[in-house]
């Protein structure tokens, strides 16, 4: 087998790969939305006074942090259908693999977000809430208008990092036969009789690199835009 590096394969792979980028982005977005909601619940549990809820949320976060994504992915992929069939008699064989991918990365993202939300909430001084309530806002209004905008700015960089992380971990979805951008790349390589894999992988790396930089840059812009309200306080 002749092995050599041919950059032409890289260029020809890009137009084939890019349409599948949307699949990757859809999956990541779905996981981010579901994961953020779950993360909010977890953060609420961690901040509550209920010792049991606190303990459960902390254990969940530790377990998620200690589990490799690929192991979690396969546990969900094999585990959920097996449990639903044996315990409830529901057949999930025909469920799209994308669903399992979304579930896995939502679970993981939720653990990350719960810590981000918790630390952002704790960073806001308690006096802010008390001041808001004392001028006549209801607690809900105080959260919406005073606490949330400030906590958002603090959470933003970590949220951006979480987003990049979930996008990158999503690259493992191909292992359960899901055709996203990595899955497509492997198909292209198989079509080339397993030659010129390197060019295709470099194309993949470049695509991921560009997206990650774009996310990072837009989040730092967002952060600047949202923290505008802070500027006058700093100068005085």
């Amino acid at each position: 087998m002749e092995k050599y590096f041919d950059i032409a394969y890289l260029w020809s792979a890009l137009p084939q790969l890019l349409p599948y980028l949307w699949v990757t982005i859809y999956i990541a977005s779905a996981a981010v939305i579901v994961g953020s909601l779950l993360g909010l619940l977890l953060a609420a549990a961690k901040l509550s006074n209920n010792k049991l809820l606190q303990w459960l949320a902390n254990v969940y976060t530790t377990v998620m942090r200690c589990t490799p994504s690929i192991v979690l992915l396969f546990l969900v992929y094999y585990g959920i259908p097996a449990f639903s069939e044996n315990l409830f008699g529901i057949n999930l064989q025909n469920v799209h693999t994308g669903i399992f991918v979304v579930i896995t990365f939502s679970l993981q993202f939720a653990a990350m977000m719960s810590e981000v939300i918790r630390s952002a909430y704790l960073a806001i001084d308690r006096g802010q809430f008390e001041a808001a309530v004392s001028v006549g806002l209801t607690p809900l209004q105080a959260y919406r208008r005073i606490i949330f905008p400030q906590a958002l700015v603090i959470a933003l960089p970590n949220f951006g990092n979480g987003l990049i992380a979930v996008l990158q971990e999503g690259a493992l979805a191909y292992t359960i036969g899901f055709i996203d951008i990595v899955g497509k790349a492997n198909l292209i390589i198989a079509n080339n009789y397993n030659t010129h894999a390197l060019e295709i992988y470099i194309a993949l790396a470049v695509i991921y690199w560009v997206i990650s930089i774009a996310i990072e840059k837009s989040f730092s812009l967002l952060e600047k835009a949202f923290s505008k309200g802070k500027q006058p306080l700093k100068t005085t």
């Binding site: 377990v63 200690c66 490799p68 979690l72 585990g79 894999a197 390197l198 993949l204 690199w209």
Partner: protein, 236 residues
């Protein structure tokens, strides 16, 4: 079909456990290479060394911007290609494709971790005020002495939690060693599962092994953090 084959679950747990030495070996060797390298890279950015600084920046951005699995793919298919070319050039007859995957694992995971650690060390070194270095030099220490005795012990305390995260992520990343047929935890259990399609049990075992491994590492880091920050409690 029964849900979980308990006998297989218990048997395979020990199969998975037998992969722990390999996973730990890869982790330790990668850390041993990555810690000095990461520290050196951090210094190039802190001291703003012209060309090296930019190389470090690009390298770190690449590693942070691409999924680990893609880095494995790219390095695993490019290293033999490059080495083969070099060896052919010098007419050395060596079967480069028969090299133990362990060597690739060392290279790949050091490549990845050095970038992560360089960022960790950079932020940690920046937490130490500049006056510390100046004061050390003023009392007659050389720069190397000042770093060893004054700066690094202080920076280490700040770096430790992030080093812990990096180590955990490294252990988790070794689960991707299956892609280079590294005989670690995940691959061993998976091969055992191939016989009777007991994938769910195998992944549960892998999950437990990683959980135990990562929680132990986390606990050890917590202990050493307490030890290293002793000097703080004297002042406070």
């Amino acid at each position: 079909m029964e849900l979980i084959n308990v006998k297989f679950l218990i048997d395979t747990f020990f199969v998975a456990l037998s992969g722990v030495p390999v996973a730990l070996l890869v982790t330790c060797v990668s850390l041993l290479i990555a810690v000095p390298l990461g520290f050196f890279l951090a210094l190039t950015r802190i001291n703003e060394i012209p060309v090296l600084k930019n190389i470090t920046k690009t390298y770190v951005s690449f590693v942070r911007g691409t999924p680990v699995i893609i880095q494995i793919f790219v390095l695993y298919s490019s290293i033999p290609l490059i080495l083969d070319g070099i060896l052919k050039n010098y007419n050395i007859d060596y079967a480069i494709y028969d090299v133990n995957p362990l060597w690739y694992a060392y290279i790949i995971f050091s490549f990845n971790t050095a970038a992560v650690l360089s960022e960790v060390f950079r932020s940690a070194l920046q937490t130490v005020p500049k006056g510390q270095l100046e004061a050390a030099q003023a009392v007659g220490l050389t720069t190397a002495q000042a770093y060893r005795r004054i700066i690094i012990p202080q920076a280490l305390v700040a770096a430790l939690p992030n080093v812990c995260t990096a180590t955990i992520n490294l252990i988790k990343a070794t689960s991707l060693g299956y892609a280079i047929s590294l005989q670690e935890i995940t691959l061993r259990a998976k091969v055992a599962a191939n016989v009777g399609y007991n994938y769910l049990e195998a992944y549960m075992d892998i999950f437990f092994v990683y959980l135990i491994l990562c929680m132990t590492v986390e606990y050890l880091f917590k202990l050493s953090e307490r030890r290293l920050s002793r000097y703080k409690s004297v002042v406070a």
